[in-house]
């Protein structure tokens, strides 16, 4: 059985503002980096899930952190997962991946995702409310 993966709410999309590195210019930090691929479940197993999304390269610090607030009640996203991701100054977009742990098999979780720079300053808007369901005990997503 595959877990249900949906993004329930509209993802906030800001102005494009794709950073260019042509002509040797330093990458410019977009005023408000936009989500390019909405947060979604990349893989899940054994109480661990990885959520993945991409957004305009936020520039600034070398390391940014994907931050996911989550919980099994959409009105109470009380848990927080935070993972370092390194930007590549030559890439127009940055992929964020966040590792969530301590999840229960077969449980549906709700989340909102965002990113912050190395000093904790927000990179842009938070995503809308998303949801995913953990695979059953001993199962993996994607299935192997």
């Amino acid at each position: 059985m595959f877990p249900k993966v949906t993004i329930a709410a509209t993802i906030l999309v800001a102005a494009a503002g794709i950073t260019s590195t042509s002509a040797g210019l330093l990458p410019k930090r977009p005023a408000r980096p936009a989500f390019r691929t909405p947060p979604a479940l990349e893989l899940a197993h054994h109480g661990i899930a990885v959520l993945r999304w991409s957004m305009d390269n936020p520039g600034g610090t070398d390391v940014h952190h994907g931050v996911v607030r989550f919980g099994d009640d959409p009105a109470r996203l009380t848990q927080v997962a935070r993972s370092p991701n390194r930007i590549n100054r030559g890439h127009a977009t940055t992929t964020f991946r966040v590792r969530l742990t301590g999840l229960r098999p077969g449980t549906t979780y709700y989340f909102r995702a965002a990113a912050v720079d190395g000093k904790g300053a927000p990179d842009g808007a938070e995503s809308g409310l998303g949801t995913f369901t953990m695979p059953g005990a001993g199962e993996r997503f994607p299935a192997r």
Binding site: T21, G24, E42, L43, H45, H46, G47, I48, V50, T61, D62, V63, G66, R82, S83, P84, N85, R86, I87, N88, R89, G90, H91, A92, T93, T95, F96, R97, V98, R99, T101, D117, G118, K119, G120, R144
Partner: protein, 588 residues
Amino acid sequence: MRLAAAVCLLAACSNDPPGQATPDPTIYDPYPPNVLPPDLDAEIQRVRAENATIFERTVAEWHALPPLTPVGNPPVFQGSGYNSIRVLGTLMNFDENMSIHKDRACSFCHMPYAGFNGPIPSLNLTAVAYPGSAQYRLGKRIPQRYPYATFFPVLAYNSDQGLFFGGNFWDGRSTGYILQSPNAQQAQHPPVDPNELGFADTACIAYRLSQAEYRPLFEGLFGPGSLAIAWPRDTEAICATPAGAASFGGNTTPIELSDDDRTKANVVYQHWGQAISLYQSSTHVNAFSSKFDAFLAGQYTLTPDEQAGYDLFRGKANCNSCHLDGRGSAVGSTDTSAAADVTPPFTCFGYANLGLPLNPAVAIFYESTPDAVGFTPNPDGFSFRDLGLGTFLRSGPGSAANPNSDWTPFAPGADGAMQVLTVRNVALTPAACPTTDAGRVDAQGAPVPYFQKAFFHNGYAKSLKQLVHFYNTRDLFAYPVTSGHCPTGTTEKVDCWPQPEVPNNIDMTFGNLGLTEREEDLIVTFMETLTDGFTTPFPNADTFTGTCATGGSAATQGNDHLIAAPPLPPCAADICGVPPLPGPATIP
């Protein structure tokens, strides 16, 4: 069974080749079978002989140096000063007398033909750390490569980035704060590391230098009285007794010197670090002579596979977000940028927690009982966890004291972080064994001999293929098991990666890169273009007299030497119980 082949623990009796001896009770051997390889004693002697070859070559080079003539003020040894210090640093680096039993040089763990990695294939396959002069005390990580380490700046916390940059060693403990050179300061650690050269007192270096045949070179450079120290009568005995011996009672200056002589010995110790660092910064180590350097200079065209690997390295695989290549990047388009730097370091000089599993083959886990002189290398046993930079920031066990308390609050964010090494020379091997990876065949279909290395700080990966595969699939094939316990139907390092040793701060830039098998191989092909010695021979890389390996597969290389981790006790209090505490997760 290892015999008393190389050294005695208590006395300076080991400068001779091994004989047919009976087991020596002073040998420290707390290891279960398969941690130390059966050919270890023979391999130690092989490396010592190779080391002697380089030392003798360098002695000849010293005798051929022009005289030292100071010119101007401040005086400069015009024309000859640079090479004279380089030669001095080389002599020091390859001098076995700079260890308690006069049987280990710095280079014992860092031979040129291995890219200055560990030179013993069977040890790289098993315990990964190397035996020091007090046999068999071993360290906790693989020997770190010398090349390009001198480019790391003094350790600093960049508050704009929220990151540490610089330093030397996997955990950054050589900050460079005094000598303003992390590399020079790095050279000051192994002489007094109980598991390495093993001196109890830093002054033992000045003492042994005062007896060295190249003493005139040292004094010519640093002054005729620089080694003139009134040594107490027990100096020889102290310098032949392993650091940590109970008889020292924790005293780190057991040689009783006058204040003036202690100061003089300290200055000698600074020159020791600086001279070795000059050697390591010279073209004898930082050669910039790889295919890739020739490519940047417009003198070599990458093959289609090398170019494809390079495109993946800076594109889909995103390797150059940490291993900076001096050029732009592109995903899904052609990069037309010019090189902004023709000597790219292939490191960001930073730190990252790669989420590697605990490697239960690392010798340090077993060194939890006292040796014959009462020293216990790792009282924590399997409760030891390698938090890398995090442990250093807390001045924790197995590291060094953190000299800047302003850094300590950042420890939880640095737990598990190890230095990002340059990719340069990761693939350097002896000419007779031209690859690190098993299973290669040449154009005629004949097997290509390989030289067994170990990769990552704990040597968990045994081939470059495994290294790239780890970055590619760490999260995809993750299992909540420890090494040696992958589920039936899976193969460790192929489609099963055991849980991270340190679950906090795991760098998620990689872990499910979506590379195909072919793309992984292409990245390895590109990494091999970073091996020095293409445009000019790599100095002293011709000394290997050991045996290459053949057969097997790079994907499963070394798996027949896996050691199953025992049930792990919780992380020790002197590591994980020291404020600021690790978080958010508890380190298991």
